[in-house]
Symmetry: D2
Subunit: 330 residues, 4 copies
Amino acid sequence: MLGIALLGSGRMAHVYGPKINAHPMLDLVTIFNPNLESAQRAASQYGGQASSDLEVVLADPRVDAVVIATPTTTHLEYIQACAKAGKPIYCEKPLDQSLERTQACLTTLEEHPVPFMLGFNRRFDPDVAQLQAAVRNNEIGALTFLMSWSREPAPPPIEYVKRSGGYFVDASIHDIDLICWITGERPVEVFAAGSCLFDPAIGENGDVDATMTTLKMPSGCLAHINNSRSCAYGFDQRLEAFGRDGMLQTSNHRDNNLIRWDATATQAKQPLKHFFLERYDASFYFALDEFYQAVSEGRQPSSTQHDGKLALEVALACERSRREGRAISL
Amino acid sequence: MLGIALLGSGRMAHVYGPKINAHPMLDLVTIFNPNLESAQRAASQYGGQASSDLEVVLADPRVDAVVIATPTTTHLEYIQACAKAGKPIYCEKPLDQSLERTQACLTTLEEHPVPFMLGFNRRFDPDVAQLQAAVRNNEIGALTFLMSWSREPAPPPIEYVKRSGGYFVDASIHDIDLICWITGERPVEVFAAGSCLFDPAIGENGDVDATMTTLKMPSGCLAHINNSRSCAYGFDQRLEAFGRDGMLQTSNHRDNNLIRWDATATQAKQPLKHFFLERYDASFYFALDEFYQAVSEGRQPSSTQHDGKLALEVALACERSRREGRAISL
Amino acid sequence: MLGIALLGSGRMAHVYGPKINAHPMLDLVTIFNPNLESAQRAASQYGGQASSDLEVVLADPRVDAVVIATPTTTHLEYIQACAKAGKPIYCEKPLDQSLERTQACLTTLEEHPVPFMLGFNRRFDPDVAQLQAAVRNNEIGALTFLMSWSREPAPPPIEYVKRSGGYFVDASIHDIDLICWITGERPVEVFAAGSCLFDPAIGENGDVDATMTTLKMPSGCLAHINNSRSCAYGFDQRLEAFGRDGMLQTSNHRDNNLIRWDATATQAKQPLKHFFLERYDASFYFALDEFYQAVSEGRQPSSTQHDGKLALEVALACERSRREGRAISL
Amino acid sequence: MLGIALLGSGRMAHVYGPKINAHPMLDLVTIFNPNLESAQRAASQYGGQASSDLEVVLADPRVDAVVIATPTTTHLEYIQACAKAGKPIYCEKPLDQSLERTQACLTTLEEHPVPFMLGFNRRFDPDVAQLQAAVRNNEIGALTFLMSWSREPAPPPIEYVKRSGGYFVDASIHDIDLICWITGERPVEVFAAGSCLFDPAIGENGDVDATMTTLKMPSGCLAHINNSRSCAYGFDQRLEAFGRDGMLQTSNHRDNNLIRWDATATQAKQPLKHFFLERYDASFYFALDEFYQAVSEGRQPSSTQHDGKLALEVALACERSRREGRAISL
């Protein structure tokens, strides 16, 4: 068993709490929050002790590893503390919105080389994972095109948008990570176009809510990212990998698969899974499992701080491409 | 080129006229109808001469073969005349509604053994033909189950129903023929259940408009026929063949394949093909082509009078099973 | 919270153990097995105490209700003990294979009217539940046809078959229950045909491994059951409800929905969910939840001993129909 | 009836010949080719006279209109001759590969304003036409994204590539036309990326065989074109229109829709329609019908020389964008 300290008791902590409990080899020892009451409320739901003192948590010999699910701006501070304490770290993405602070995380982890996993959970979705494995096993030959759709059901509150770092850094970063991970390549050039078509407040803030991005990979493979802050029919999540010998596609998910035939249509009336917590629910469990396996085997997890830095660099280049209306070389 | 005399200028003649014209090796020489005006109207549309004198038509040396598309009750008379004249015959199904008159057709064709094709056109639909070929090529192993759905968009006029010979003889006969043809077997037992759920006038006439039929084949394969005189979403035509090594299914057809996603559903809004003339349009062409090939090669066509008699015998047994509420052995 | 005693520690107990733990309002107090060691092994996995003394278990004030997951032949005995002790009962299906002993269960529950739920778990599968709700809400109008497919991946060991009560009692009973539940009707006539096409040992035992069954309902609705002990492509589970105004279909489930296009085919290569424990995994949780809700609200659960008796009666009539080759009235 | 002179007797003339014959209101009067023997061979297949003298053809009072299906380099010359003769013209696309000669066509048609239709046949495909109509009828709200896939089964001979004007001018021009036609807008900016991944000879010739193109429309709608000269699974032709209120997708076509389930996969084994002549076969008929309707009604057809010029301008900008690695404003 691996004793876990869960840092944070907000929204993402409520995602990880039940997943830690469901994993047969993880034991939730402590939930930490500087706000003790919040930690106590979470502990009463998921078990474990509550604490507002990180030093005490990290000194607890039952704590074998930490899961950081706190606000993004606190990641650097907690990574530094945990790495110095020698604890293996699972950290919710992103490392940070700024490249400087992201680099500071990497430097810390070079100085204190604990196993570190960045929670790019979509990689651990069964559909996505099998597509990646099939591509890497050369089942469709050399990749020609890779396309990733992420369309959200509705724009977030404008306050969220203002703090988000821009649409590319906030959201496209997932698609960028999947493209780098599936191809096994770093893009050499990006071109991004964007429009504000759904929420004028987003445009007034200098951001966009509908984007198309082209990434050119060293092998010549071309990638496309299709992002929208609004989607009338729900949370649209698809991948299409087109290779020399064939194509692989993932499909959207629904709560049931009932098909209705009537005088006007043949239809699936069940809407798509609501948003990422529902669509990618299982992926958080499989991500924690990868963390457990890596720590148990004394190896680095398959999704690391370097992947986080790469995705951020590409996302920032996309933002620049959109603003300057030109292709950006990397 | 094969010179064709088309007997009849009613609904089915308007199906065969354009198909004869479209076939590069068939030449429409004459259209015959005892009502000369009707024959002339059809000839002005599809070409060829018009005639109301069958003797003259059959004596015409340009007439190499005949296509009989007249009312069912006249089939026996015209088959006798054409067979005696030594002309290869393509006859629209069924031979006749009565077993006695059907047997008279067979006797005539024994005495005058011209190539004879019965127009079981559904066999020549590309989907159906490929399913049959795959089954016969043992692609799914020994057959366990064979299921055939035929649900019509709306009940026919009650006058049609009264003359139809009953729902099994009128409609299930198609499914029965496909089952015998795909399995290559003659059923040994049938059980049919029926209800009148759509048009009370059909029930008052002693007939039914919704049936489920089980056929047991000598190999142990079980077949199911699912027939309805009404179908809210159009003309539902499906086959499912389940064998030891796999399953084959045909799908319904639409005029286009547009998929719509909106807040309430993901749907194909295009209705199904309206009825048999639309759904099986191509099959009439391919059936004529089989007739042409058989005549050219001096062989019997693949769908004969014997198939017509078998299907009628089984349909009559289904009718008896439904009326007597018991399984009937054949 | 509802304290639960789990009776049994075999295969089905291992299904219910984790589901009881996952339910926020159920508390696993005790696991009972006459074989104490087996109970202890299960308790070490799922928590709670282990006991081999049923009297002690039923006298424990923390035990609010029981879940019976023992071998079928023991159901009557445990139902009697638990009902006399006044405990609400959730019992794995079937009540018993014999109609006499099934009736004894009903008599016991009349004398000791505790809330009693029979675990017809397929009703609680989300696809099935939504289909039933849509039919009952009249979304497709009066039902014309209801079809249920259950094809198992491979025949069970012959020893299992010998004790199974015959294919209809062992397996079709699920389809029968769904048909009665969805239509809200009791069949008035059944006709069943069967073949032995997969395992000759099953035939030598007087049983069959492929069946087609027709049920006639009082409303005129016709139902079809399609059962096979073998299925090359996995566990095939489908429903099709055809009504006056439309049709509803459920689809099979896979572990992922990857679509592959290559030079030979467009395909889903992922096999179907392996068997009922995988396909209907979620349904066991929802069935327990219905039990919890019913007990909490002081009402009868939606799936009772009467449903169990009805399904058994119909299954026995199917068996008789198959053996006697005739329709059986109920 | 509209008397037609068909100019050309090569590959595209063999597409139009049967379609002219199939149309009830078109009459094929003459087939013209400077090579009289070629014209005679075609006339023996499709009817009409053969001629190698264009003046005689255009002076024939039975010739009401012309269909130009000659090599692209001859279009300008024949358009000039036919326009001066006052004949309505249907011209196979493109007008010309050069913008100068394309402009010369437009100037000619300004001076001699005969009804002129450019054969952008894909617009007349039933799936495409219904998608466009639905978008224009505002069924999915304001467009956010429009995506067009055209992947060819195999690279053309390198000699063809050399004369093709480049991949964008040769092929993407279809997708560009559909995007302009469906949105009803002219792009304001394009960015194109390309790779040579299939046939190195194409790369040695300075061209590419895999491209991704982004078009920005004045409304803010973003369009994506996905082109490949090779596709392992056949001729991949899809459209996806994503609007504020929903999405519309077209699907690929097969010769049959048989679904196979076996131990390894659930699959459609029938390949996609081979190439554009098969996939878009019906569209040529509907395009000619639009020409007939327009001439009959004395109006301009819905696809004109101006559409041809616009698509060429955009395609040339794409080529420039790819070569210069930057976005091009229009």
